[in-house]
Symmetry: C2
Subunit: 355 residues, 2 copies
């Protein structure tokens, strides 16, 4: 251990993917960064690629055990099975792995961190791994965490309006191709005519969304789980409980994909231990630096995905006190699923560690 | 009163509008109809227009008091203020007015009818007026009414995915124009780039949706009401209570417009007096002739708006027993807002009266 504190080395695993690309964009736009070396790691297919990070051209190196030598913090933006295999390798080599996959989120020995809510948990990491939550859960966590702190959350009924990019670049490409295929066709008034327009345009029947997404909504996200639930819906429940530290939080979620490129939205019905007025909720949101309140009912001001995509905060609007449910608020929240929902929160965990 | 029963005369007021057009389509496709004369009524602007109804060309007549002479049942598919003025005129002239506007729905002397749920109410009409519910409420009523009958509904948390045609033909045209304006532009990843694409295509800034709808969702439907609520959200609450006959039903709704041409969808979280399993709910839905169950979790079968638009039933899928809320189901429901949500239910009320 040298006497002088060396600036830590950061590695980005999956640097060339959809989330990895946003991660590099975030690093490039930070006023300052605490890192010495920034190492880019990807699969053999992408190794050798040149990417400019903070004005310096860097060559992507191949994912291998020795790629983690000398790394202090390794951010993983790769599929579950790659993380499951390689995050422990990074940890063995001395790095703290911050993982954005689903591989470790519910592991009791891995903290699940949203810095605004439970930053202190970054220090409890017996496996050397910290997990980043699912993007849908994350989209509401900064807002809900602040309310929970003041009013004590007890129940959550959530419906999602999830963007195509939740299914990665493949999802974005598919939605854009579908929009092009239905444009000017006047379809959407007869059962199946959207699917016919997609077929006529030569789009493969196989889609990341299980059904046409253009001019449609699809009540399915993630994979099939028991008792009629999807993986996405159970993540919203289980991850909310873990992040907020409320093991018996009552949660029901219905996750629905909508034809939006990027930015998830959620309609939230949240019940608290104590009464909470709209004015009190507004004050809580305004006091939270990473939440932006867009809620002027008289002027019809509210957040929408296309209005906030590509930005960092969590946006909240349409805050109402439930008419028939005590201690309950209904509100609408939007957050960029590739930024706060993925890359940004992962990076904020790394910044928290570097402090 | 003649000894021989004369086939009743039906009038359609607003015969040339979006819902009126669907009404005539429904009448044309009925196997048989109980009507003698079918009279088409519209504003002066549309009077004189020829429309074929059940193989016979009919001339649209102008809305005037004498237009209702000899009419037994008059179906109104016109804006609130036209209904408010003219439904009582029709009633004075001896017709039963069945009104699809919002003018009379909450009038205690006007029944609000969904034939599957409360057909008997058509006979309690001191004003000679019967109201047809709002399309969003209607989209879930056949399914919810059946569950309420068996299990006793107590609470409802609803998020809507509402189609553009809820804002009439103007809404459909606007969405189609927006889709054409964003197609192939690769927009949706930067705040405001969808709005810029609409402006670049020359679309007027004034829209029925308050915000871009293509590649977006908009948490606003209807008009501004007190305490942060929209008219649409309060209709879901107040009309559900009246139709189901549960004056103290607890309801919270968040109404969101989505880029779908026609067919509303709703994510429903419904709590009952008694326990209800998924199997029991399936049996209830299967026994209800106007509900179609599309729910095979293993095969990923569920309803979507684009898959069912233009058809009559209410479609239900994704039925789940809530994990943390007793006696509670979560499910997803789709219904064509111009058919069951408007023209079809209005026509079914007329059929009920004719029996």
């Amino acid at each position: 251990m040298a006497q002088e504190k060396k600036a830590p080395t950061l590695a980005i695993v999956g640097a060339t993917g959809a989330v990895g690309t946003v991660m590099i964009d975030i690093i490039n736009h930070r006023e300052s960064v605490p890192w010495g070396e920034i190492r880019l790691i990807a699969s053999a297919r992408s190794a050798g690629k040149k990417i400019t990070v903070r004005g310096q051209e860097r060559t992507v190196v191949e994912l291998a055990p020795e790629a983690f030598d000398g790394v202090d913090i390794a951010l993983f933006d790769v599929p579950d099975e790659i993380s499951a295999q390689w995050a422990p390798v990074a940890a063995e080599r001395g790095a703290i792995a911050v993982d954005n996959s689903g591989a470790f989120r519910m592991d009791p020995e891995v903290p699940l961190v949203v810095p605004e809510v439970n930053a202190d948990k970054v220090h409890e990491r017996p496996k050397g791994i910290i997990a980043n939550p699912n993007c849908t859960t994350l989209s509401m966590m900064a807002a809900l965490g602040a309310l929970h702190h003041d009013f004590g959350l007890r129940e959550l009924v959530v419906s999602s309006y999830q963007a195509a990019s939740g299914a990665g670049q493949e999802g974005i490409d598919r939605l854009q191709a579908e929009i092009a295929a239905v444009a000017g066709k006047g379809v959407g008034s007869r059962a199946g005519d959207v699917a016919e327009a997609l077929a006529a345009a030569g789009l493969p029947e196989e889609t990341p969304f299980k059904a046409p997404l253009a001019l449609n909504v699809v009540p399915w996200a993630g994979s099939r789980k028991d008792d009629g639930w999807t993986s996405e819906e159970l993540k919203v429940r289980n991850e909310s409980r873990k992040i907020l530290g409320i093991p018996d939080l009552r949660v029901s979620a219905t996750c629905v994909r909508v034809p939006v490129v990027t930015t998830h939205a959620l309609a939230v019905h949240a019940t608290f231990e104590r009464e909470v007025t709209v004015e009190q909720a507004h004050r809580v949101f305004e006091a939270q630096p990473t939440v932006v309140l867009r809620d002027d009912h008289d002027k019809g001001v509210f957040p929408t995905p296309a209005g906030v995509v590509g930005t960092d905060p969590t946006y909240v609007g349409r805050v109402r006190q439930a008419l028939d449910f005590p201690n309950t608020l209904d509100f609408f929240v939007c957050g960029d699923n590739l930024r706060k929902g993925a890359a940004l929160n992962t990076y904020e965990i790394a910044e928290t560690l570097a402090k």
